[in-house]
């Protein structure tokens, strides 16, 4: 079973040299900590940064320099600042190669729900709808089941959708799953110590398990 950092660490492997990457709030933010040495990527923050750096050293916070999660951040040498229209322009024009974000539910055909629980939580979609509608490569980082113990990998999302047919890969505490073009979740790797049976039990949507499923080595 993976903890949040384990999920982030596993996702970091999907980040390839030369990529421009947008990291959502929560676990995706942690991915930045695990990108291997020698892999040059630039982080895009949709409020208007390319080349976002780590949190500032204590005392060096700048109120004018925040990320899309409103956290104080820094700029790396070679970074650039732009307005929100250009930011979403580069997202729509698919210049950002990889988007990693959290989800409440993902369906077999790659639909994602992550912005609203009717009657309960309505904080807004922020930039998520723009990102999932345009990004060519979307990885979801999330817990496999919700607090009520129900699977979040579903035949069909129950919650209001953020985007349709867009998620390509899911990493949970239990394993790594590809969303198949024809629909369905394909188990790619098991988390350390997790059995295929456990994963089957926790997955409500159609799960494809072909041959021996390797246990991931982090």
């Amino acid at each position: 079973m993976l903890d949040k950092n384990g999920i982030a660490k596993r996702i970091a492997r999907e980040v390839k040299d030369g990529m421009f990457v947008n990291l959502g709030i929560g676990i995706p933010t942690l991915v930045a900590n695990y990108i291997p040495e020698g892999i040059n990527v630039e982080l895009q923050s949709e409020n208007g940064i390319l080349g976002m750096g780590p949190f500032p050293i204590e005392g060096e916070e700048d109120a004018d320099l925040i990320n899309a999660g409103k956290q104080t951040v820094t700029l790396l040498p070679g970074s650039s600042i732009f307005d929100s229209a250009m930011s979403f322009g580069m997202i729509r024009a698919q210049k950002v190669n990889l988007t990693i974000l959290g989800a409440m539910e993902v369906s077999e055909n790659g639909d994602i729900a992550n912005w609203k629980i009717p009657g309960k939580m309505v904080k807004g979609m922020g930039g998520a709808m723009d990102l999932v509608a345009s990004a060519k490569n979307i990885i979801v980082a999330m817990q496999h089941v919700n607090k009520a113990g129900q699977s979040k990998l579903l035949p069909k999302c129950d919650l209001p959708l953020t985007g349709i047919r867009c998620v390509k890969k899911i990493v949970t505490e239990l394993g790594v799953f590809d969303v198949l073009p024809e629909g369905g979740f394909k188990l790619v790797e098991r988390a350390p110590g997790v059995s295929v049976e456990e994963i089957k039990k926790a997955t409500a949507g159609k799960l494809t398990v072909e041959g021996e499923i390797p246990e991931m080595v982090l």
Binding site: F55, I57, E61, I66, K70, T72, R92
Partner: protein, 237 residues
């Protein structure tokens, strides 16, 4: 050059009336027009429709105008972290139109660029698409569905810049830029408050983010609090 300078926030907003539509720059509490918000609270103008990416926090930013119930409707992309907002929305006191952040930015840009509508794939297949005209287009070798979205039509845009000159030219600092440039371009009347107002000739023409043609009134604000919403730091290595 045409002089755009007004004395202060009170003078800048003097003709903002009840039930008008305002655009307000900023992302979270970053790059918000603090002085104008304070002046709007003081003026007590009511029934406002506010186009702003966020709604501030309970006791700062647009949260101040929510407390005094001066806002009738918010058009935003994200309104978390604001208990009074949630209360007013759930009780039905406050109308809320939640739209994707890129759609918000691009509808501002459309207004500034004289484009009556734009197409975006954001929200296709979701409840955002309900009642909207859709159309399939090929872009970048891929055909997909887009939503038609209209340019905003705001009476006033109120933005915050770092430096400005008397001709209304604006330069933003770091991510306090965010929505400010597009909104500055989009207002029928645009008000800019700046941390430092300089004479013409002191800003490099190549560094101007918002040309003065878009800015009808400019003043140097005071007592900027520039509150940080999420102070995150790391230890020195």
């Amino acid at each position: 050059m045409i002089n755009r300078v007004v004395k202060n926030a009170e003078e800048a907003i003097k003709d903002i009336k009840d039930n008008m539509t305002l655009m307000l720059g900023g992302f979270g509490l970053c790059g918000i027009p603090e002085n104008c918000i304070a002046a709007l609270v003081k003026k007590g103008v009511k029934g406002l429709t506010c186009i702003s990416n966020n709604a501030g926090v309970d006791d700062f930013g647009l949260g101040l105008l929510l407390q005094t119930k001066q806002i009738k409707k918010m058009i935003s992309s994200y309104v978390g972290e604001n208990a009074e907002f949630e209360r007013q929305m759930l009780s039905g006191e406050l109308e809320v139109d939640l739209i994707p952040q890129g759609t918000l930015a691009t509808r501002c840009m459309a207004a500034g660029y004289g484009m009556p509508v734009i197409y975006t794939p954001a929200g296709v297949g979701t409840e955002i698409a309900i009642g909207k005209e859709t159309r399939r287009f090929k872009f970048n070798g891929e055909e997909k569905e887009y939503l038609m979205e209209h340019a905003f039509d705001a009476d006033f845009a109120i933005v915050k810049a770092w430096k400005g000159d008397t001709a209304g030219n604006l330069i933003y600092r770091s991510t306090a830029r965010n929505f400010n440039p597009m909104m500055a371009m989009a207002g029928k009347i645009t008000i800019a408050e700046v941390e430092e107002l300089v004479q013409v000739g002191q800003l490099d023409p190549d560094h101007i983010h918002t040309p003065g043609i878009y800015v009808h009134r400019i003043f140097q604000g005071e007592k900027y609090e520039k509150r940080i919403e999420q102070r995150t730091v790391r230890k020195k290595d």
